[in-house]
């Protein structure tokens, strides 16, 4: 089912939790709702579920306006952060509960519940109570219960946040597998960027109730619309340097060290000349420049750490600390002055006041 949010706004007494959200989610896609704590992810999900009624805007499921439709008539399934399983019912009864409410005959309900249990691989646990299950198993029960009515939209509110690191990895692949097997449109709330990047078709990044960017994960990483997006994604985070633009609209001058950097093409907007800018470069977009004739940033090494395959270089450019991921072959010592090159096309330039990315 295609989902459309048009100018969706949710106000509580003192806060605007969601502010004029405009998003279209295509049928069968998995979309992650990503953002820092309190940015309105759960609120958005609750509005989609029909548990909250939007203060403004229109919500369409397919062609149908659903603003006033009750949750049970929306053809949705939902998994809550704490799973919200019925503690007094067995796994089988939990999964059957939505069918029982829909007055599906008992035999059929049981068969369908068992089929779902098999899909999420908990068919050996049917007689247990939720308290006798591990976190991962409880989550599978919650997914089975959400899917048993064959909904057209699956909503997941931080379903992995109670699991340990290893299980999280496993379960997120599991969610992706189930989602693709069933082919259901899915919205997945998380505040873990890596989780969002790895399983979704599209990521919707929010901050303070506003949409920051809505695009495919790799696009969001490569072409962030603004500084917030660029900083939110990536670990270690992007390096930011205050800068100015020279008259040719193509040369960036770093404020601190007065070093210059050529853009591939001039900025199109001539009014841009007098503004304050911030140059953003991801740690992996640096490389060590050995050819002293070529352009690059002269930095002083503070420390080199080994992180897995790569080395993480901590260095100082003037007064500003930066981090770069470099090949482990190069021997560098503390205090060494080195030149860091920037991979072509990988520099980002943000307007200091608005945060907009001027290059993409």
């Amino acid at each position: 089912m295609k989902i459309q949010l048009k100018d969706i706004t949710m106000r509580f007494d003192h806060t605007t939790a969601v502010d004029h959200l405009n998003v279209t989610i295509e049928e069968g896609k998995l979309v992650s709702l990503l953002g820092p704590s309190g940015c309105g992810k759960s609120t958005t999900l609750y509005m989609l579920a029909g548990l909250y009624r939007p203060s403004e805007g229109e919500l369409y499921f397919g062609e149908r306006l659903v603003n006033k439709i009750e949750p049970e008539n929306r053809e949705i399934g939902m998994v809550f952060q704490n799973y919200a399983l019925y503690p007094h019912l067995t796994v089988l009864k939990n999964i059957m509960f939505p069918l029982k409410m829909a007055k599906v005959p008992k035999k059929e309900a049981e068969a369908r519940a068992k089929e779902m249990a098999a899909l999420v691989q908990i068919d050996h646990l049917l007689d247990r109570k939720p308290s006798q299950l591990s976190g991962g198993q409880q989550q599978r029960v919650a997914i089975a219960r959400a899917l048993v009515k064959k909904p057209k939209l699956l909503l997941l509110d931080e379903p992995l946040s109670n699991l340990d690191a290893r299980l999280r990895l496993e379960m997120r692949e599991e969610i992706r597998r189930i989602q693709q097997e069933v082919g259901i449109t899915t919205i997945f709330v998380t505040h873990d960027q890596e989780e969002a990047m790895s399983i979704s078709d599209h990521v919707l990044l929010m901050k303070d109730g506003r949409m920051q960017q809505y695009s495919a994960p790799q696009d969001m990483y490569d072409y962030p619309k603004n500084k917030f997006v660029a900083q939110f994604l990536g670990n270690p985070p992007i390096n930011i340097f205050p800068a100015k633009l020279s008259d040719d609209l193509q040369t960036i001058v770093l404020q601190d060290t007065r070093e210059t950097l050529q853009l591939e093409a001039p900025i199109s907007d001539p009014a841009a000349m007098n503004g304050d800018y911030e140059l953003g470069i991801r740690p992996e977009d640096f490389y060590i420049e050995t050819d002293s004739v070529k352009a690059g940033l002269k930095v002083e090494t503070i420390r080199v750490e080994r992180i897995g395959r790569d080395n993480l270089l901590n260095a100082k450019l003037g007064q500003i600390n930066l981090r770069a991921i470099i090949s482990p072959d190069v021997k560098i010592n503390k205090g060494d002055m080195i030149t860091l090159g920037i991979r072509p096309g990988r520099a980002r330039l943000f307007d200091s006041s608005s945060g907009h990315n001027l290059l993409h």
Binding site: Y46, E72, M78, F80, N82, A84, Y86, M101
Partner: protein, 274 residues
């Protein structure tokens, strides 16, 4: 290690002393119920009767219409317990899950009424009931006891501990609020409800003053009221009184033993003492 054992020993000693203190009146009651009339008041007191009189029990049972009293007591107990459970469930749900204007204020006022001693209410309640023409009817024995603020408070605390997501999940599953209350919240609150029911049952079974005031005919009396028939102008037949008392408390003791696991759980979970 040794210190721990010592403190444990001390705790056990206290508990044993406490239990003995609590049990003594019961033992004395049973001992008296088996005595000959002339042994009841002798000094020094005798703990073990010289001649065990089982016949006291038979005589006690037939010296007043205890069969009628029992039926009345059972009717009052069952209807007031079921009634109270229903009002408590509905009220606790409203006070914990429905957001209405002045909810907290109304609830505090209700809690405040717990401070009023029951004796103060005897006369106003009596006047109300006699205006309704209910005196000497079952309604008088049952209706005033159909709601208890304490029970509502206990259950409300329990309902608060049920996460809000559970009701959201139920809503999505197509379960109405009313259905959610009966098929999810009530089963979850079973320990608290059993506690409430038992406290109510004991209270109702042992109630004396109120049934005494609102009943006048023999046919409407309950068991505790029936006990006064052993005190006459000619004096009190203590051994028969004790035999009847022993018979009366027996069902409550059995009920308590069978359900004590739930009582302790319910009181402990709600975090307050009964």
């Amino acid at each position: 290690m040794q210190k721990e054992a010592l403190s444990k020993g001390f705790i056990y000693l206290l508990l044993i002393l406490g239990s003995i203190l609590m049990l003594l009146p019961f033992v004395w009651m049973i001992s008296t119920s088996l005595k000959l009339p002339n042994e009841v008041m002798i000094m020094p007191p005798k703990w073990i009767p010289s001649d065990i009189q089982w016949s006291n029990y038979i005589e006690a049972w037939f010296s007043a219409p205890f069969a009628i009293y029992s039926v009345n007591s059972v009717i009052v107990l069952i209807s007031s317990t079921i009634g109270e459970l229903i009002t408590t469930i509905l009220a606790a749900y409203a006070f914990s899950r429905i957001n209405f204007y002045g909810r907290e204020l109304i609830f505090s006022v209700l809690l405040g009424t717990m401070m009023v001693p029951g004796e103060v209410l005897l006369i106003p309640n009596f006047v109300t009931l006699s205006n309704l023409g209910w005196i000497d009817h079952y309604q008088a024995l049952i209706v005033p006891w159909l709601a208890s603020i304490f029970s509502i408070f206990l259950l409300r605390q329990f309902f608060f501990s049920i996460p809000k997501e559970l009701s959201f999940a139920a809503k999505i599953d197509g379960c109405s609020d009313f259905r959610f209350l009966w098929s999810v919240m009530v089963p979850l609150a079973k320990p608290a409800l059993i506690t409430i029911a038992i406290l109510k049952a004991i209270g109702s079974w042992n109630a004396f003053l109120w049934p005494l005031i609102v009943t006048s005919s023999e046919e409407m009396r309950t068991l505790p009221v029936g006990l006064i028939s052993f005190s006459t102008d000619a004096g009190t037949r203590y051994e028969l009184l004790m035999a009847a008392s022993s018979m009366i408390i027996l069902p409550m003791i059995i009920l308590f033993i069978v359900l004590q696991k739930y009582i302790i759980e319910g009181v402990a979970r709600a975090g307050i003492k009964g």
